[in-house]
């Protein structure tokens, strides 16, 4: 049978995944701290139809090899900065530069996020800094950030130190937000809900120390998604055309098979 039928089918399948990725990016164009994903492809095995034959210095020097199409190899994230937007909310934080906030899930697993739209979760006399989903935000000592009743004017400086005024108007230090980074952020696993988890490919988390930190924490700002709508639209068009052209290749192969069939009426 014609190999090209299957080859072109792999092309269509890959472009389908490409479109899936692109449409997920477009759907998240307004998600805080969302990072664009990109599908990458690799070519499939090549089969030698005719082997190189250089015996007696005769014969073709080049193998006759036909490829079998394409397959997706990876989806990588683009960790370029999204734009910062002002929110006027004391508990909104953006990281200007590299890094992640560290949060704790109810099942004691650690996750990372760049979405700094935090809230307060009240428990009796005190409140804890949590994400929108209610997950605890870590401080530098891997503990919760506690804000006691009556405290106001919560302030976070660029290095992540949190201060607030207590009932007497005294400024109290509440610890420092835990900011971590990875050697290869592209290797992080996306968990949904703006959360990432560590993998072998990302490397282990390392703390961004206050005295040598290049990134800045910016209060009352949020990081928008870094999806470039124009870029995604262009990618979508190319993917659609690539899908189309592969379907044409299937059509052509089919027509050729039809011709071969009609040799014998």
């Amino acid at each position: 049978m014609l190999r090209s039928l299957h080859t072109a089918a792999t092309g269509m399948k890959s472009q389908q995944l490409n479109i899936d990725t692109i449409s997920n990016n477009l759907a998240n164009v307004n998600t805080n701290g969302y990072k664009t994903q990109r599908a990458e492809f690799k070519d499939l095995l090549y089969v030698a139809i005719k082997k190189t034959n250089l015996r007696d210095d005769q014969g073709a020097p080049v193998n006759l090899e036909v490829g079998h199409g394409v397959m997706p190899s990876a989806t990588t994230r683009d960790f370029r900065k999204g734009s910062l937007m002002e929110t006027q909310n004391d508990l909104d934080f953006a990281i200007d530069g590299e890094g992640f906030f560290s949060v704790l899930l109810p099942n004691d697993q650690v996750r990372y996020t760049r979405d700094g739209s935090f809230k307060l979760s009240v428990d009796g006399d005190e409140a804890m800094l949590v994400t929108s989903d209610g997950y605890m935000v870590f401080n530098e000592d891997d503990d919760a950030i506690i804000i006691e009743n009556g405290m106001k004017d919560i302030n976070v400086d660029q290095l992540g130190y949190i201060t607030a005024k207590d009932v007497d108007g005294e400024i109290v230090e509440l610890g420092r937000l835990k900011l971590v980074n990875f050697l290869n952020p592209a290797g992080l696993l996306s968990e949904g809900q703006n959360l990432y988890s560590e993998t072998a490919a990302s490397g282990e988390e390392y703390l961004l120390e206050a005295d040598e930190m290049e990134s800045k924490v910016i209060q009352r700002y949020l990081e928008a998604s870094n999806v470039q709508v124009v870029e995604e639209m262009v990618k979508m068009i190319t993917a659609q055309r690539a899908y189309e052209i592969n379907s044409k290749a299937i059509q052509v192969s089919d027509e050729m098979l039809q011709m071969a069939n009609s040799l014998k009426r």
Binding site: Y46, D57, G69, V70
Partner: protein, 357 residues
């Protein structure tokens, strides 16, 4: 039974393979660093066609008017009116009325091809035959006279022309076959990705990758890190540096345009990027990797291009061109099919109508 049927069938088969190559190019239109393939078709050797059991027609033999010799640098182009030149091909001896050859490094007269650098190559090509087999000369500076004599160092070494018997009326070929696939190494477009561990090569070069089956080459620089902080491809194969596989010991590293990996102001390792001078021996392995054919060593040379971090090279497939080749291949398939059908109809007439009693 009937020559034209088999010739057209060889055309069908060749076009089928051509479509397979084209559709592989099309499916890889979005593959990082992909280089497109081109199918090269080759005619079967021209064999002499002779009459049997017929009156010998002397008129068929044109008078010998000599050989027309043109020389362009190392390339000789000969044409002749009567008689034939012979070349030895893997599929048998071929006869033709024109001949293009060069003298190869061993002194043999051979047909040739041009590699991607426009150099003349004769490896694996056909030998030009003289009266006593392949012609070999000591001195590359040869002359061909109008009688087809090969003159080297003032002496006639051999003669290129073969006069066929009188019953020969011409040549015929067995059709066409798929000869080889050449890879077009022109660069693709470079696009920004923003990922520090994505690399694109500007210029003629390859990254070296350690695979379980030995060293492979790639232009796909979408690298990542493994658990030991080693730089690896998406398949997990180690990317080689000049001092062994690359390990990023610190989080704070910089990558220079020449591939140097700088940690704390010190060059720790350098990406091993090479130019390959005998690219015609590179074979695709899948997974965006290339390897040289067995028994051939890659001729590695200094890479004088630029390494771009945060960029990737796209595939160099031009969809318009591929589309056109696809249409051409399909139409050519169609016409070959028509030839077979026409031949079949003729046969039908012969068998069913002529034979009616």
């Amino acid at each position: 039974m009937n020559n034209s049927m088999y010739i057209a069938a060889s055309g069908l088969l060749a076009n089928q393979k051509n479509i397979e190559v084209i559709s592989n190019n099309l499916s890889n239109v979005n593959t990082t660093g992909f280089k497109k393939d081109m199918a090269i078709l080759e005619s079967f050797p021209e064999v002499l066609l002779s009459k049997i059991n017929d009156r010998i027609d002397m008129d068929n033999h044109r008078a010998f008017r000599g050989v027309n010799v043109e020389r362009d640098g190392d390339i000789f182009t000969l044409t002749i009116d009567s008689g034939y030149f012979k070349v030895s091909t893997p599929a048998g001896v071929g006869n033709s009325r024109s001949l293009r050859f060069i003298v190869d490094d061993n002194g043999y007269l051979k047909t040739f091809y041009k590699n991607t650098e426009d150099e003349l190559k004769a490896d694996g090509e056909n030998y030009v035959l003289g009266k006593n087999g392949p012609i070999r000369v000591e001195d590359r500076n040869i002359e061909i006279d109008y009688r087809g004599n090969v003159i080297s160092g003032g002496q006639i070494i051999d003669n290129l022309i073969t006069f066929p018997p009188f019953n020969v009326i011409g040549t015929t070929s067995g059709g066409v076959r798929f000869d080889k696939i050449a890879t077009d190494f022109t660069p693709g477009v470079i696009t920004e990705t923003g990922n520090k561990l994505d690399f694109a090569l500007q210029g003629d070069g390859f990254f070296k990758v350690q695979t379980p089956n030995g060293i492979a080459y790639t232009r796909d620089g979408s690298f990542t890190l493994n658990a030991n902080r080693g730089l690896v491809t998406n398949e997990g194969y180690a990317v080689l540096g000049q001092n062994g596989p690359i390990v990023l010991s610190s989080n704070d590293f910089e990558i220079g345009e020449n591939g140097d990996i700088i940690v704390g102001g010190q060059v720790e390792n350098s990406l091993d990027i090479v130019r390959i001078d005998n690219k015609e021996y590179l074979r695709k392995q899948g997974n965006n990797l290339y390897r040289t054919v067995d028994n051939v060593q890659a001729e590695e040379a200094f890479f004088d291009g630029q390494l771009l971090s945060g960029y990737l090279e796209t595939s160099n497939v031009n969809t318009i061109k591929e589309m056109v080749s696809m249409i051409t291949a399909q139409r050519s398939y169609e016409s070959n099919q028509k030839v077979i059908k026409a031949q079949d109809e003729l046969l039908e007439k012969v068998v069913n109508e002529l034979g009616r009693v």
